[in-house]
Symmetry: C2
Subunit: 305 residues, 2 copies
């Protein structure tokens, strides 16, 4: 079998972001950690880490980290029988879209976390890279808008997030006095999360406008809200984020030809142990409190992010 | 002189995140864009792009993007005399810390943006990499907690952000019945932005606790707020973000031995043109409305992020 002490050194260095921090985390000296990683590389005959330009795992290193996380999840199922295993904190690494993390997801899993002590390593990912991380085994679960399961994983549909086009009353008066149309959209600045945020592009495409259209780029979910409130542009906000600002009158909804609904799928490792299964059941149970139902989402011609 | 058509192709491919999108942005075919980049590489005798693992500029490519952005900023100063130059949208690329972007910064610059039409490309960066991006010339300005200017740039102090340790009343009752101390802090889960977020480590170090201490990792400013409200852990939140939840009673402040104040410095290119100078003056003027004063920040033994 593999020497898990060596794998532990590798995960500590990667998770903590450096040799010194990894050593602190394990309560070892930096040279002990460095020796463990050298030994691991010598045994495997291949490097597990790249040092530059930034510290990161090699392809083999990623596979090993994945394996170590899976072993930890399986060990967690033994805690009832071997309580001493429980002294290690249980960690779960999950990739999710920025808007879910900034809105409903933490609130939905709050009670679960109070029952099962688990520390979360969350990773914000856009659509494409989130599933790549599942495929590479870097994360044990992933929340995104793609329905197709990756190999070794299962997927459940949780429902959908409704997005609303919004801006300040003053912005609307200035840029959209006649509502959204091809002319106003080629002039008014939008606020887009990043180059991989296609939601905005698809909304604009409904008006037969091809890029370029003027836009700010703001890779922060709450940053987009604040920029919209400050009148820098119009944006597509999740209903959860828009609601309080619509109620206070700071923002106004702009009518779009069809509702914008993004489906949410939960991908999780098939061999992820009891904890991951419980979290999955819990999320399926809770999601109707936070998301549009699966039926509504399907009826609403959902838009992948 | 350089052929700026070729540089424009390079920036479009990088900014838009791909050849197809870059071509759409410029209204060219993909093969025209690809030829321009090949021609640029042939003239310079060096590659400007790397294609894998992800599309990105080489070191030379970065220098050229920097140069192109600087030229655009200088062109902007000519618009009054040569209005036709104004048909190009003015873009400004700025790196800033996630907490400023999720709170005060967009609100502070809102009115400036309504006067000077400029599209923002914002980049969220932690401390170390933000200044590296200034050094590489990838961003024209950067908001971070380091006072030392990088070469070719100037820096102004804007004041400081106050952070508060907070949690739900229920979390405090369960984990901190006697307040913060070494014992409770080694058991209660904290919520940390990422491995480079040292603020939490420094707070914990005041109680003579060395890592590891239990923590979730959540790389989203608003995600940290939501996780705290959901009772997953305690966190250090900017006062702006904590305030509404303290008022509603959802969160309660936890007393710390000394106030946690993070200084904010604005770094900007010396040769950044009139627009960047105006933005800098505007921010200096406005920051007292949003931040602790420079004097208060200095008195409060500021903690770099």
């Amino acid at each position: 079998m593999l020497d898990y002490k060596l794998l532990e050194a590798l995960s500590a260095v990667i998770d903590q972001g450096g040799f010194e921090r990894g050593a602190n985390y394990l309560g070892l000296t930096q040279s002990a950690v460095s020796q463990r990683i050298k030994l691991l590389e010598a045994r495997l005959g291949q490097p597990v880490l790249v040092r530059s330009p930034t510290l990161g795992p090699t392809a083999l290193g990623k596979r090993l980290l994945n394996h170590a996380q899976q072993v930890r999840l399986l060990e967690y199922d033994l805690i009832d029988i071997v309580p001493s295993l429980g002294t290690d904190e249980q960690r779960l690494r999950i990739a999710l879209n920025a808007d879910s993390l900034a809105t409903w997801w933490p609130l939905a899993i709050g009670p679960f976390n109070q029952e099962h002590r688990v520390l979360l390593d969350l990773v914000v990912q856009d659509q494409t890279t989130a599933l790549q991380r599942m495929r590479d085994g870097e994360v044990a679960a992933c929340l995104c808008s793609t329905p197709r399961a990756v190999q070794g994983a299962r997927v459940v549909s949780l429902g959908g997030m409704r997005y609303m086009a919004v801006a300040t009353p003053r912005f609307i008066e200035r840029h959209f006095p006649e509502g959204l149309n091809a002319e106003s959209l080629s002039e008014a600045p939008g606020i887009v999360f990043g180059p991989d945020d296609r939601l905005h592009h698809r909304m604009v495409a409904q008006y037969h406008i091809a890029p370029p259209f003027p836009h700010h780029m703001c890779p922060s979910s709450q940053g987009v809200v604040q920029m919209t409130v400050a009148g820098l542009g119009y944006a597509l906000l999740p209903e959860h984020q828009a609601r309080p600002h619509l109620e206070s009158g700071a923002l106004v909804e702009i009518e779009t030809p069809s509702p914008i609904i993004v489906p949410m799928y939960w991908h999780y490792w098939r061999q992820g142990g009891q904890l991951l299964s419980s979290l999955t059941s819990y999320l399926s149970e809770q999601s109707p409190n936070w998301l549009l139902s699966v039926e509504e989402t399907e009826r609403g011609s959902p838009t992948p992010l």
